[in-house]
Symmetry: C2
Subunit: 265 residues, 2 copies
Amino acid sequence: MLAIGEFSRLTHLSVRTLRRYHDAGLLEPATVDPASGYRYYSADQIPTAQVIHRLRELDVPLPDVARIVRSPDPGDRAELVAGHLRRLEDQLAATREAVASLRRLLHPDPPPLQVRLRAVPATPVAAVAGVVDLDGVLAWYAGAMAELDAVVAEPEGPPGGLYDNALFETGRGHVLVYRRTAGPTAGGRVHPVTLPAVELAVTTHAGPHDDIDVTYGELGAWVVANGLAVAGPVRESYPVGPRDTDDPAAWRTEIGWPVFPMAAR
Amino acid sequence: MLAIGEFSRLTHLSVRTLRRYHDAGLLEPATVDPASGYRYYSADQIPTAQVIHRLRELDVPLPDVARIVRSPDPGDRAELVAGHLRRLEDQLAATREAVASLRRLLHPDPPPLQVRLRAVPATPVAAVAGVVDLDGVLAWYAGAMAELDAVVAEPEGPPGGLYDNALFETGRGHVLVYRRTAGPTAGGRVHPVTLPAVELAVTTHAGPHDDIDVTYGELGAWVVANGLAVAGPVRESYPVGPRDTDDPAAWRTEIGWPVFPMAAR
DNA sequence: CTGGACCCTCTCCCCGGGGGAGGGTGCAGA
DNA sequence: TCTGCACCCTCCCCCGGGGAGAGGGTCCAG
């Protein structure tokens, strides 16, 4: 039986951290003296402590660590770990993209932004709508678009979507993806919808979506400079997207932001 | 002039976050109405907001972001950014190593640990000592060892170090690195020191230092199983180290932990 | 039996936000 | 000019994974 200080020395985990792991139900001492509250660990808990240490170095949240070290089946455990490694991969990809986008921001090579005003009439479309978290929007988009493809036999023009401002402001909001078509417009989650008529400020973003907010910002600056104000929901359409090519640099995203004269807000 | 909500829509930064950035002195509104406290932004602050956004995606702390966006000289700014990118690289390397170490832990292929007890007599050495942070210990070690090499003409045996337990427990502690020699033992930070006689439990760790705590743990378990207790400072020596080869898998680190009979603590 | 190392619980602090309460402002339509 | 409502303000509490320290109990060797 090892007192907490001794166990700390053997595992390179601080005494404080060991106590926290006990409170979190993550690493229970082998025995606890009921009179004094002293924690006593056994030497064969050392490997467990080391696994915990590694998982924490990978920023796995404590509750997930608890699930991993407590799961009895090594298969389940491996699966949980693999899931977290995938999460790390995604994070790494996001980091790389942020670095690239930062470089583009700091060393700009700005092609002048083409903004046009376009009066869009009310448009009937086949649509899938829902309330979505910002993190899950990509997955939701893929699923919704697959359903649209299954239902809409003869699409016209590129697919598109409407995104509520709340999605960017609070991380959750209404999203609607649509296809224009002369054919059927209902089935499963797909329903016919008529997009309202609006005046749009339209521009096209080229490349991956990691720095699409830059284009949003430039579009917004143009709108403001022209005495207009924006109001959601924003419309995007995807003349060239992940459905068309695997090369994000080739993507083209048309952004249409409903505008009003400043005074008419 | 844009109200905060409008600016939020143009930058995809939440209203809350914009207010926080104002409070942190990171992104000052162009004007603030002294009567109402309303913040008003100008459209040409959008690029700055986007740079901040990217830096935050890279987990650059707010004070550092403030330094970057406020530094007038683009060269300085690039240097600050580059520094953070280096930090990200290091972090990435650490993550990779933790993943590798975790795999080794979960799929162990354990060569049986060779532990020997060795009575070490008092030993005169040339040494550099200091109080070091755990993060900086590698850099400190490199500097100290370079000074030792400059002073000690004829070293005997591998270099070594003594590490206070506090280094692992509180992240800061006494460290002493030494070389045995029959030659000079003083110069610069180098001073003659006599390491006290101790009884050591000794084993050798093979490979990079990322999972050296596993060997520490196994050594500790062996010590406990043999009715002994450990006490610092730990001694390490480096028969094969970064000085000898660039391949961390070839490194050999001898760990000697002072031991006492359990009862004699 | 005593001193000192060790251990206990408790509270407060850090970061970068999110959530909500409670109240003041700006502006368009009536 | 009034009213309603969207917008804005400040202030406080919450999260996770610890670090720091206060104040007090416990263990054990000399």
